[in-house]
Symmetry: C2
Subunit: 290 residues, 2 copies
Amino acid sequence: MQRLARRWRRQGVRVALVPTMGYLHTGHLSLVKRARQLAGQHGQVVVSIYVNPTQFGPREDFSRYPRDLKRDLKLCRGEGVAVVFAPSDAEMYPRWGEATDPAMRDEDARPTRFSTLVTEENLSRLMEGASRPAHFRGVTTVVAKLFNIVLPDMAVFGAKDYQQAVIIKRMVADLNFPVKIVVAPTVRERDGLAMSSRNKYLSADERVQATILHRAIQRARRAVRSKAVSAARLKAELKKFITSEPLARVDYVEFFDSDTLRPAVVVRRGTHMALAVFLGKTRLIDNGQL
Amino acid sequence: MQRLARRWRRQGVRVALVPTMGYLHTGHLSLVKRARQLAGQHGQVVVSIYVNPTQFGPREDFSRYPRDLKRDLKLCRGEGVAVVFAPSDAEMYPRWGEATDPAMRDEDARPTRFSTLVTEENLSRLMEGASRPAHFRGVTTVVAKLFNIVLPDMAVFGAKDYQQAVIIKRMVADLNFPVKIVVAPTVRERDGLAMSSRNKYLSADERVQATILHRAIQRARRAVRSKAVSAARLKAELKKFITSEPLARVDYVEFFDSDTLRPAVVVRRGTHMALAVFLGKTRLIDNGQL
């Protein structure tokens, strides 16, 4: 992949990357279409498909995360994608997770043990980072790797993972990656549920009740349409609203500034809202500017 | 710098980077000559000069580290360097070190606070990392930034900072930077003292006694010329030898594998040795393969 990327670079080919974990749905394909547009007629689109183990917690759904590479490849072909980059764990993280005590005396000392991490230390502590401690460290590390392997001019991320997109932008600015980050809007089902590979986990009842995330955002939007309101009060009100669905359990509801993610004390038009809600065992997220 | 680097890239110009903290001496210039050679006739050499604050500890010599940009520029010009990249702290680390509590409610929320770090978590704990806890985190972070700003095809590091060179190679492999790392040999004064900008701190007496680092390496080399010896015993013997110089105080003496830095129990020909010694208040390092 990197050899091809370097060749493209020498030829002045513009490259747009769409990093995904595969099991592609219409949301992903909207990112690919955006990338296709940004790359232009003479540019190339690369889709990476990699269920990145370092961004999953030990009790999370890494092993049961849905995968269907054959179908994904067909969908990518249909969108004019030049390359699907789908590496193995052994290529991405050689010998990661083995004992790494540096003082260990090992005569069979093999030098290829993965040990470098990229961490964003500020925005990563909030919301998804509070609920999933090592999550963003895994995300920033794998995205840094993908940028260095694919050498894109731009990369397209979905607004559904809003905090992730802000953190990636922060990483790109801080580490000076020569990559433009584009955030494309969330694609929703007809009833408002944000598209996600994890929707597949939902039972029929959970699926019906899962629209509560989107409805909570709309409710907040109405609440601040003509006046500013207390974040604490609105949060309490929304939590009650969400748990009116019997299968829903709130992980968090937060209000914050769109650019800095700084928590808002007062919620106004333009304040950003994000939430995570369990439907049974499935954890879903959504967000929107109010 | 990045704009120029991207232009060079489009033109297929080969770029070699020499990252330095300035106050250039013959050792640095040997790296520049090597870079000049590697870049080839149509390539370009970039020297970065930046006393990187994040790699100094709070009680270390950041503020008194010697600086002479005017002289450095003249020396670089003499070596055919295309660009000296000498950024400011504000450019490299916007608002770094300010309060970064993400939960802080700040209505004046400016989004440009540096917060991304690159850490190597294994090799960085040994030797220099044990004595200087955040040192290598600062090194890997700034080198990642320099690689993304200068976009070099290769970068030349000095063997004098041997552990640093191994950690940079590890980072490049782990994060897939498209940069070849070249390690060039240590340049020494006539009496064996490894060239270093910090030698300037030494008093006349300290300067004379500072050759003890090099002499300790030579002594170890002789000790293992024809037989393997116990690391513990050799270490004890060398510590005694070093402190025979009244102004010398040992920080560490270590034996390890050249590639993995894994500590050696038994020292043989080919084992690597590194040491750090205080001469008065000045801390010097040296290393060599035995």
